[in-house]
């Protein structure tokens, strides 16, 4: 294997940073969900990379759990976005006024 662990970690850091940029700048709820997906994928890549280089099978097992939980999270998140869209006719999170504390 010619790739070192550092290469995978750098890709993972870049993906994490782009995801945090998306969460902090975008106000579109669907785009924020995209950014959350990117962060979850960066975490999965880290898990599998460390599991490969140790080597152990637990990294892949945890990545599989994480993928399944992320699927559930996206289903609930999209349902929440649809409910909010039906109430406010908008996907801009700054318009969801009554959610303010």
């Amino acid at each position: 294997m010619t790739n070192t662990l550092l290469d995978f970690l750098i890709v993972s850091i870049a993906l994490l940073a782009i995801g945090i940029y998306g969460i902090s700048v975008k106000r579109n709820a669907i785009r924020m969900l995209f950014a959350i997906e990117m962060i979850v994928n960066a975490a999965n890549l880290n898990l599998v990379a460390f599991g490969r280089f140790l080597p152990t099978s637990h990294g892949q097992t945890f990545a599989l759990f994480s993928i399944a939980i992320a699927a559930a999270e996206v289903a609930v998140g999209l349902a929440l976005i649809i409910v909010a869209y039906r109430m406010y006719k908008n996907v801009d999170i700054a318009e969801f006024r009554s959610l303010k504390g």
């Binding site: 294997m1 070192t4 550092l6 940073a17 599998v48 280089f53 080597p55 892949q60 699927a71």
Partner: protein, 170 residues
């Protein structure tokens, strides 16, 4: 040192991640997100874990990306093609992104992982199944319950109660 396949996959993944957030249309954005998820699946193949890569393609590209596409289609058309973002926060966000990349990158490069490479044989995927059914079986059961309850929760949330179902009367 990284090889050509790795570099190509990295360019696809990072480029389409930026595209998913910055392309004007949400539909192209979600198709670009598919590129990111597929690139991550490619990295899993490079890491000798074909089982996780297959799971990633089946779950992320096969269901999550399609679910996001359908949700985007339910949204009004004017909302798909406008970019909603805080203008003031934009530069702060780019600065935060660069600071995170440089800071975390410096930490990792200065730590000891720089030259780690491996010649160990890849883990057999039968070992993963064995882990799932022996050591991790409570977590597996819990994961099934969480998935079922989240699907029920999503259906309950998205249900409309203001429409009465009178199909059987007419």
């Amino acid at each position: 040192m990284a090889d050509a396949v790795f570099l190509g996959l990295a360019i696809i993944t990072i480029g389409s991640a930026i595209g998913a957030l910055e392309v004007r249309s949400l539909i192209y954005g979600s198709i670009s997100l598919m590129g990111t998820l597929g690139g991550i699946a490619g990295f899993f193949l490079l890491l000798d874990s074909p089982f996780v890569a297959m799971f990633q393609i089946a779950v992320y590209i096969g269901s999550i990306a399609v679910l996001i596409l359908f949700t985007v289609m339910l949204v009004r058309r004017e909302l798909i093609f406008i970019k909603i973002e805080d203008k003031r926060r934009r530069y702060a966000g780019v600065g935060l992104m660069l600071a995170l990349m440089l800071g975390l990158g410096a930490i990792i490069i200065s730590s000891g992982v720089k030259s780690i490479t491996t010649d160990a044989p890849p883990v057999d995927f039968r070992k993963i199944g064995e882990d799932f059914l022996t050591y991790y079986w409570p977590a597996l059961v819990l994961m099934g319950l969480i998935l079922a309850s989240s699907v029920i929760g999503a259906l309950t949330l998205a249900r409309r109660e203001d429409i009465t179902n009178d199909q059987h009367t007419s």
